[in-house]
Amino acid sequence: MWQRFAPALPANPWNWIAVWRRNFLVWRKVALASILGNLAEPMSSLFGLGFGLGMIIGGVEGTSYISFLAAGMVATSAMVSATFETIYAAYARMQTNCTWEAVLCTPLTLGDIVLGEVAWAASKALLAGTAITIVAVALGYAEWSSIPYALPAIALTGVTFASLAMVVSALAPSHDYFIFYQSLILTPMMYLSGTIFPMSQLPGSFQRIAALLPLTHSVDLIRPAMLGRPVDSVGLHVGALCIYAAFPFLVSAVLLRQRLMR
């Protein structure tokens, strides 16, 4: 049993770094375009919704709407960056470009590759989330002191959504199927998880579902940190995100083993 699944697991705690560095080397060549592309959408949402709706709404939960929204956009952009990197870029490296196939001929295991890809996607999420945090801080929508607290939460959000997206990548017969994950899972989750409006606006049953979603836990960590408020139940949120990261990681590794090493 162990022998069957050993190739699906990381061989040691450091092999994944070689995979991460390969992706970094390729990304470095297009870094500027990549950063601009990743930031354009959350920034336009932040300013468009923040200023536009903010004028109608006024304050939310004791702060300006744009400050409230900034944390939501940070969490959402971390989710979207990690997801897109995994379902599009990592999927292409697996399926179209056969990059993974080349790595499987080296001492690295499939688990090392998956871990490296998840870490890479989380790094991109961290970059996107941090950039928005810095913009929000610079414009006075968040506290400078919040950055050291927000960054680990953004990174964990990235790992979680990269792991979840890896399961989708492992199952998708082609990239045409990713749209279902985006429109049926991610977009509803964004509306349910209190990124754009407070969860208290949802009907009771939806609130109970929303409380289980990983993005809710991210927002519950990131928003108080950015607004300089104490974070409630840190252990619960971190624990929930860790479960959402670890379990899909293992599932994706086993699914990918069946897909690529049959």
Binding site: A11, K29, N97, P107
Partner: protein, 304 residues
């Protein structure tokens, strides 16, 4: 523990209900070039995957460089270099960066990779392309870079899956010459191919596969001598089925494949004389080769 570079014993592999490798056994000794020869779909690439531990056998035992595979395939792969059937280089990166990235998978430092890069580039005749993006290289150059990449860890064993498929004759000859120099350096090569000429030129021994089964094994020339052992005349330009009865008394054996009549004869002149009255026929007289062996063993040509 086996001293063989590669040792397969009664290995089988099924995909769904289809047998891809059928109770196959063979041994590759250190320093030899061993060929797996067969048409597409014979199970060659699957065998390469099994040997690398990327796929697991459904039955049988595999041992590579003294390690049981797939259980300890990761350790075996430290000593293996692989040239896959289709190039999977990083197109966005330069030649030098491709070697660096691959060296890191073998836990080499940047300094270690840089130390071996000049000799690898020289080997691949890519000295002037070190900083070119791979996307700009020709097909032959990409193949040579893939070969250089496979040597980054100074492997004992090279697994080459159809290394010259898709190359022009010039590119193919260059790869062959490079592979011979590796054999001279004592490397072990396991080569899959459907090119008879490639197998005949490079392999010390080979195993002819059909539908995952071994249908012959031995040294190329011994196989040719054993299975054919006489001259060959290919006759085309007429209806081979009509010609067959005419030449039958003069030949040891004759086969029709496509529009060609293959005659196996000790005295080719007899056949020419016999068909002297038939116009528009073209004759190609040649020594026997592995293609003839395959035709003999399977009743059909190897060509895909």
């Amino acid at each position: 523990m086996s001293t063989a570079a590669v040792d397969l014993f009664q290995v089988s592999k099924f995909y769904d209900d289809r047998v891809v490798v059928d109770a196959l056994s063979f041994t590759v000794s250190p320093g030899e070039c061993f060929g797996l020869l067969g048409p597409n779909g014979a199970g060659k690439s699957t065998l390469a995957r099994l040997i690398l531990g990327v796929a697991s056998p459904d039955a049988g035992k595999i041992c590579v460089l003294g390690e049981p595979v797939p259980a300890r395939a990761r350790l075996a792969r430290r000593g293996i270099g692989v040239v896959p059937q289709f190039d999977n280089l990083d197109l966005q990166l330069t030649v030098r960066e491709n070697l660096l990235v691959f060296g890191r998978y073998f836990a080499m430092s940047a300094a270690e990779v840089e130390a071996v890069t000049p000799s690898l580039l020289e080997f691949a005749r890519l000295e002037n392309k070190a900083d070119a993006r791979v996307a700009e290289l020709s097909g032959g150059m990409k193949r040579r870079l893939t070969l250089a990449r496979a040597l980054i860890n100074d492997p004992q064993l090279l697994v080459l899956d159809e290394p010259t498929t898709g190359l022009d004759p010039h590119g193919r000859h260059l790869i062959w010459e490079r592979l011979r120099s590796l054999l001279a350096r004592g490397k072990t090569i396991l080569l899959t191919t459907h090119f008879m000429e490639e197998a005949e030129r490079l392999c010390d021994r080979l195993c002819v596969l059909e539908h995952g089964r071994k249908i012959a094994e031995g040294q190329p020339h011994a196989l040719i001598e054993q299975q054919i052992g006489c001259q060959v005349i290919e006759i085309y330009g007429g209806n081979p089925h009509e010609l067959l009865p005419l030449v039958r008394p003069q030949v040891q054996r004759a086969e029709v494949s496509g529009e060609t009549l293959f005659c196996y004869v000790t005295d080719p002149e007899q056949v020419r004389l016999r068909l002297a009255n038939c116009t528009d026929l073209r004759f190609l007289q040649r020594p026997p080769n592995l293609e003839d062996v395959f035709l003999r063993l399977t009743g059909r040509e190897m060509k895909d």
